[in-house]
């Protein structure tokens, strides 16, 4: 773009008075700001002894879980909607014929690569039966890449771990 282009708006820097140009008010302003923060309340917490206060765990997007129904069976019907919606392609489902009469399919294996996941929550939005949900567990870690690929059992165990604190959506009022 040419410097004489009409679309360029040249903004004049604001004119300072003698007080401003003497640098003194600005000097004091800068110093008071830093002093206030220096002595002020600290925002970080001493993790892991202290935990972050999560305002609403029900809408937090942390580690996934696979919900169970009333009989303790996996709720998932292997419809692949979550895998289709996933922008990171981190969900891998192998469907099989359901052993139960109330649905046609169930996931024989259901794995989520937590390292690829971007925690956008699209899977949760897409799920028609409220089978996959994101919990408020945010500090997941592992010693290898393989360990971070969560299989069906692992995801169900996340549900067992969090079901009391965070009831699944269909169970909420």
């Amino acid at each position: 773009m040419h410097p004489q282009d009409d679309r360029i708006r040249w903004i004049k820097s604001p004119k300072l008075g003698v007080a401003g140009r003497s640098y003194l008010p600005l000097f004091v302003q800068g110093l008071t700001t830093t002093l206030r923060h220096l002595l002020g309340r600290k925002l970080t917490v001493e993790s892991p002894e202290e935990r972050h206060e999560i305002p609403d765990p029900l809408i937090y997007r942390g580690v996934h879980r696979l919900n169970r129904d009333a009989q303790g069976r996996i709720k998932c019907v292997a419809c692949f909607l979550c895998a289709t919606a996933c922008p990171a392609h981190c969900i891998d489902i192998v469907a099989a014929e359901s052993p139960w009469p109330d649905r046609e399919k169930y996931p024989q294996s259901f794995t989520i690569d937590e390292l690829r996941c971007i925690f956008c929550g699209m899977c949760e939005e897409a799920c028609p039966v409220d089978a996959i949900e994101l919990t408020s567990l945010y500090d997941l870690s592992g010693k290898s890449r393989e360990e971070m690929i969560f299989d069906k059992e692992k995801l169900l165990s996340v549900y067992d771990q969090t079901k009391d604190a965070e009831p699944m959506r269909s169970a909420r009022a």
Binding site: R21, S22, F27, G30, L31, T34, H37, L38, K42, E46
Partner: protein, 415 residues
């Protein structure tokens, strides 16, 4: 003779060990301070090694040191090997050698050893006592730091490092002038280049030089901050937006030497500010002013001096987060258009007072220091107003003339 040597060696070891420890712990202080200003907590976990005792993070410097020593020290293939090795050594040795003449207290009474041990006079708390050209030594050795910077940039054989070295060289050389002018006023007033004499003059008079020569104090403090390359003058490093500067290619223990030297510069600058302008070990009512001291007074003087130095260092660390960095042209404008002229004004005021002051003071019925203080204060006020009114650091970057484009006729534009 032997006892003098032993005493000198003990002082050198104490000073060097103290400095290295201080530099290491100041890194921790800096990090904690930065964290607090940014509403964080900072490194507070590392304590006693191999235990779970945390000690407010006081073990962090050990961990930092071990990390630096065990880090891969990579020497790029394109560097000038000898110079690449010499440059960090230069800056580090220069930074440490300055402390030979910087007193870290007043004197110790001679009675801590039996009379037969050959210590017959009070021991001065400075590694090389009685150097008459102390100030000149500080300047001469301190200036060698520029070589370390330029050499480091040059030896790296890398365009960015080279430009960084030149950038830093320009800054360090520019700000050495106002630094010298700030010192000149003090030397004129004291009549001696010895650092202990400068402190003694302030202690005996009871009036610190920062009150007598406020203009010189400000100039010296700003220039010292720039010499130590602390923010808002950290153009040599500019870690946020530019390539690191002269030490881009350095790693491991050589980089640590540069970083420690930087902290040593800050400590030196703080010591000099305190000694030249803030009364050194003197504090009204508690430290006395004479040479004959008892043990409590001697230790109190050391404590007062170190407390003042720590205060100045903490101010430097706070300044880092308080004001934005200067642009390079603003840095140069501040140095050449503001600090040097004002430094000259300060020297003229002090010199004029040294010549005509005592007579004037006697006629007006005021004391000599009070007169200088008044004159200095008036000079500061006047200079500040003149600078504020003329605004010499302001640069207009908007286009002032029409720009010729290839498709425009040059004739058409100029007619």
């Amino acid at each position: 003779m032997l006892s003098t040597l032993i005493v000198a060696l003990i002082k050198i070891v104490l000073a060097l060990a103290g400095l290295m420890t201080a530099a290491a712990y100041l890194v921790l202080v800096e990090r904690r301070f930065a964290a607090w200003v940014q509403d964080r907590r900072g490194p507070n976990r590392v304590g006693v090694p191999l235990t779970r005792i945390r000690l407010f993070g006081l073990g962090q410097p050990i961990a930092d040191g071990v990390k630096f020593i065990f880090k891969a020290e990579f020497t790029p293939g394109h560097v000038d090997k000898l110079m690449f090795f010499v440059a960090p050594l230069t800056i580090f040795i220069a930074a440490a050698a300055v402390f030979a003449v910087i007193p870290f207290g007043s004197v110790l009474p001679q009675d801590f050893l039996p009379a037969g041990w050959g210590v017959s006079e009070p021991i001065r708390l400075v590694a090389a006592p009685g150097i008459d050209v102390g100030m000149i030594y500080v300047f001469a050795v301190g200036s060698i730091a520029v070589y370390g910077v330029v050499l480091g940039g040059w030896a790296s054989n890398n365009k960015y490092s080279f430009l960084g070295g030149l950038r830093s060289g320009a800054q360090l050389i520019s700000y050495e002038l106002p630094l010298g002018l700030g010192i000149l006023g003090v030397v004129l007033w004291t009549g001696s280049l010895r650092l202990d004499a400068i402190i003694a003059r302030q202690a005996v008079g009871g009036a610190w030089n920062c009150v007598l020569q406020p203009l010189g104090f400000l100039i010296f403090a700003v220039a010292a901050c720039a010499e130590a390359t602390r923010l808002p003058f950290d153009l040599p490093e500019t870690e946020q937006e530019l390539v690191g500067g002269y030490h881009t290619e350095y790693s491991g223990i050589k980089l640590m030497m540069y970083l420690v030297a930087e902290f040593l510069h800050m400590i030196t600058a703080s010591f000099l500010i305190v000694i030249l302008f803030l009364g050194g070990w003197h504090f009204w009512g508690i430290t006395g002013s004479g040479e004959a001291v008892t043990w409590p007074v001697a230790l109190l003087r050391v404590a007062v001096l170190l407390a003042k130095v720590l205060g100045v260092i903490l101010f430097f660390m706070l300044a880092r987060w308080s004001w934005p960095r200067f642009r390079f042209d603003q840095l140069m404008a501040l140095g050449w258009k503001v600090l040097i002229p004002l430094g000259l004004v300060n020297v003229v005021v002090v010199a004029a007072w040294a010549e005509f002051g005592p007579a004037l003071a006697a006629r007006w019925g005021i004391s000599d220091p009070l007169g200088l203080g008044l004159a200095g204060g008036a000079a500061l006020l006047l200079c500040w107003l003149v600078v504020a009114a003329s605004d010499p650091t302001r640069v207009d970057n908007s286009p002032r003339r029409r720009v010729v484009t290839p498709d425009q006729d040059v004739e058409e534009i100029f007619n």
